[in-house]
Symmetry: C2
Subunit: 180 residues, 2 copies
Amino acid sequence: MTPADEKGNFVRLVPEGDTREREVCAECGFIRYENPKVVAGSLVMQEGRILLCRRAIEPRIGFWTLPAGYMELGETAEDAARREAREEAEAEIVIERLFAVYSIPRIAQVQVMYLAHLKSPHVAPGIESQEVGFFDLDQIPWTELAFPSVRWAVTQLKTLEDTTTFAPFTNPPGERGDVV
Amino acid sequence: MTPADEKGNFVRLVPEGDTREREVCAECGFIRYENPKVVAGSLVMQEGRILLCRRAIEPRIGFWTLPAGYMELGETAEDAARREAREEAEAEIVIERLFAVYSIPRIAQVQVMYLAHLKSPHVAPGIESQEVGFFDLDQIPWTELAFPSVRWAVTQLKTLEDTTTFAPFTNPPGERGDVV
């Protein structure tokens, strides 16, 4: 997930006082501490259907995803989920509760997903989406879902039916999101 | 939370193609993307009592905390929670379920906390702890807790009593961890 426009001449070494190898810039001495990043998103429900966004950007352009993205400084995870729904689907959402926390070590992500509903009925594709729409849980485009965690979330959602109190979900047993 | 030994000569500007100001090194052009970091930890229970660790390091040296710390690359959040319990309390734990997700925007943290129990009875202070011990929920050292989120977790735990199915917790209403 390293942006292509990052610069610096990094070498791997254990900085003094540390116990792990880190990326250190050979030119200026800057230590690039790398930690997993938080993706926040939402399962936005409307009359039993779920909001999906068809991606207009790589990776997985043309595939369907949940509105979600990297959390920024100064936000709560809930703030980030609301912002992403606004950016990707022009959706103003109300967060109801935490739905799941997934870990994807391969890409160093922790995904925090919330159950939500629309504050107002308007949705439309944002700049990162080709189209957006609500899908009946029996008509999910399973083969066109963008990421394993989208599949996990929708699958777990289907197990709930009308339950409102449930333990939050985590990765399905044995799954680490290694295969797209 | 910037380590004291970070170097680089950073200026704030909006990189080409971005929409936010970022820290860019004036010497080598490296863009320091800053995102919130994940802290993973656990509420380790034994016969109705909870494991706390008295901190041997700043910040809040001498105060009691839950075993928790920064998630590293290649880990799941659960892996990180298990490692931190081992490092801070020499505790081998079994994670039972997700307990809470807290956001602390002031220090750009998302804290993922799990409910857990000991795999074997041994606990002892690790290098970052002065002492470790199990506390009855009626004998929590409230005025000596290290961080707001420790107080939130223990307070929310007390509301559960013998409930095993519960919605996961998030920040208490209106709280953002701004005051220690």
